[in-house]
């Protein structure tokens, strides 16, 4: 059997795929955070909770309404995104003129409310969401066994990342968004409806989180606390990459997933801390983040 630094190739590749899949989630979530931060200048602390809401919406939609996975993948981001639109319109907008730390605190309070409410109804032990039939099983690639669903998650997450990149960098709406990120007052002076743009952007970011949640539902136990611990890792990823660039967020997310996967192979004790250690290293060497611009 082929060995890589004393580890069987199949194990190595298996952990690498796991790491890549985790990385895809980091990328999707940090992308959403970056999009929201760009225009609203707030860190959306409810992002983890909204990811969790996405997974729960898929689970409950299937249980009570018979909505299948594919429909959920399309509908849930819209529904949760619409919920995000309401949050922005009625809560976040009221504090938009204040110090941006208040946005962090408000969304933190919202996260506590969402999480706490669902814990009361569903407990903390996770529920299982069945993998759609067509994606069950796996492929034998000769040197490793690749579960189909993981491969699909990777493809879908990357496609969504690319779609977001395309929307922001190549469309007219995206151009507005980028311009608003640079100077929203000037945009407003040019006659663009900036408040509407802000609301839609928040809704889009929340929708991205919900999309990630649906993707995650068959992979991890669906529980009310699934988002919060993930979010803290995503924060570290955001600090490492900097929130300045879309591609930066995607690359950093994937890279951190791979590093985490490899740590699991060679030094499992550190696997849940390695990203924080990388963050500390980056803070010491390049405080603005790998893709960050000097403020």
């Amino acid at each position: 059997m082929t060995m890589i630094f004393g580890v069987p190739l199949a194990v190595f590749m298996g952990q690498l795929t796991l790491g890549l899949v985790n990385g895809a989630f980091y990328a999707l979530l940090s992308l959403g955070l970056a999009v929201i931060f760009g225009l609203l200048k707030i860190v959306n602390f409810a992002h983890g909770a909204q990811y969790m809401l996405g997974a729960f919406a898929a689970l409950l939609g299937f249980r009570y309404l018979g909505i299948n996975y594919w429909l959920a993948l399309f509908l849930v981001p819209l529904v949760v995104g619409a919920f995000g639109v309401l949050l922005e319109r009625f809560l976040l907008r009221r504090i938009a003129h204040l110090d941006h730390l208040y946005g962090l605190l408000l969304t933190f309070g919202l996260a506590l409310i969402f999480e706490g409410t669902l814990v009361n109804f569903f407990g903390v032990s996770g529920a299982r969401y069945a993998t759609p039939e067509i994606l069950q099983g796996g492929l034998n690639l000769g040197f490793m066994f690749l579960p189909t669903y993981r491969a699909w998650v990777l493809v879908a997450a990357l496609a969504m990342c690319l779609f977001t990149w395309f929307m922001i960098e190549r469309t007219r709406l995206g151009a507005y968004l980028r311009a608003g990120t640079e100077n929203s007052q000037l945009m407003q002076a040019f006659g663009v409806n900036v408040p509407l743009l802000i609301t839609l952007t928040y809704g889009f970011g929340v929708g991205l989180a919900a999309f990630a949640g649906v993707l995650a539902a068959p992979l991890y136990p669906v529980s009310p606390t699934m988002g919060s611990s993930l979010l803290i890792v995503v924060f570290a990823v955001v600090v490492i990459g900097g929130m300045g660039s879309i591609l930066g967020a995607i690359i950093t997310g994937l890279a951190m997933g791979i590093i985490e996967g490899l740590t699991k192979v060679y030094y499992p004790e550190a696997s849940n801390t390695v990203i924080f250690l990388v963050m500390i290293l980056v803070l010491m060497l390049r405080p603005v983040g790998l893709f960050g611009k000097e403020a």
Partner: protein
């Protein structure tokens, strides 16, 4: 108007300041008397819990209220103080509680230096995220470290005898010891805030680039504030461990970092008494809710209070009272 302006001669201003100072001292005296009488009116263990969290919140407030730095990782210091003190007191029976508390506080202070050096490299929102992430790192270390008892935590930490002389096993003796520690911490914060150092901190909070241009080494000021705050949070954690004779992962969890923010916000950010009030309210609320049918909804209710505070009550209780007083009586 101009007439009345000229009326305020220096001596009048001095007189007014003197009176304000006298009023403030009388107020503090009244608070101390209230603190001394309190254990005869309420359950001492409850009061000790309030005092420990009040000290924790005061320490946090020094950073947020006076330096404008929002730390989302203060649970790490509370837990470090608690675990170190708990481990030492449980493993070395000869050790007196005050030495255990000093050791815990020192280690939390050291951790504060590490945290501070790393996190003040970023500002604003990034500062909050960095502190949260490092605190999560500390949390995982406590989960895995051999001396913390993992998920179970440390139990049966002896209260011991203060200075080897006074037994702390009675709640009343313990209360006065905790009260003394709180007064020490509160006085230290009060001194820091009103010192020239505190004035510079406020300047940094209001306008950092300006403070830099005036020649202040802003990073050094922030670091010192961070370290003092971390040390006092550690002191609160150490004391709490001695009182309740246990240290657990709850103290290290990010929920705890959120709770201390809520206490400070609710009482009034940047007011000296706000954190004390906020801690009192939050601890009482948790105590009352735990026994009511709403026991499972504590975190939802705290979240709702958070949202209300941010939306329409940003100065907190003490801040709003202060505003009202200024409007109506001055």
């Amino acid at each position: 108007m101009a007439e009345s302006q000229t009326m305020t001669a220096p001596s009048v201003v001095l007189e007014r300041q003197k009176r304000a100072k006298f009023r403030r001292n009388m107020f503090y005296l009244a608070l101390i008397v209230a603190g001394l009488v309190a254990p005869f009116l309420a359950y001492p263990v409850f009061l000790m819990k309030v005092l420990c969290f009040a000290l924790f919140a005061c320490a946090f407030n020094l950073l947020l209220g006076y330096a404008g730095l929002l730390s989302f990782g203060h649970a790490a210091f509370l837990a470090t103080g608690g675990y170190v003190t708990g481990y030492l007191l449980a493993s070395y029976p000869g050790l007196t509680p005050e030495l255990g508390i000093i050791a815990g506080t020192l280690l939390a202070t050291l951790l504060g230096v590490v945290f501070g050096v790393l996190s003040i490299r970023r500002q604003g929102i990034y500062f909050a995220m960095v502190t949260l992430a490092i605190a999560q790192l500390v949390y995982f270390m406590f989960v895995q470290a051999p001396f913390t008892g993992g998920e179970d935590g440390l139990h049966g930490v002896p209260r011991g005898e203060l200075f080897g002389l006074i037994s702390l096993s009675s709640n009343l003796a313990m209360y006065y010891f905790v009260f003394a520690i709180f007064i020490f911490g509160f006085a230290l914060i009060q001194r820091t805030v009103h010192s020239p150092f505190g004035q510079v901190l406020k300047a940094i909070r209001e306008n950092e680039p300006r403070a830099v241009s005036l020649g202040y080494n802003v990073d050094a000021y922030k670091l010192v504030a961070f370290v003092i705050s971390a040390g006092l949070a550690g002191l609160a954690g150490s004391t709490k461990t001695v009182v309740f004779q246990l240290a657990s992962l709850t103290d290290a969890h990010w929920h705890m970092s959120g709770e201390v923010i809520l206490m400070t916000l609710l009482g009034g950010v940047g007011t000296l008494l706000g954190p004390l009030m906020g801690a009192g309210i939050v601890v009482s609320l948790q105590h009352i809710l735990a026994q009511s049918p709403l026991g499972n909804w504590v975190s939802v209710i705290l979240g709702i209070i958070f949202v209300i505070c941010v939306l329409s009550f940003r100065s907190g209780i003490i801040g709003e009272l202060d505003k009202m007083y200024r409007k109506n009586f001055k």
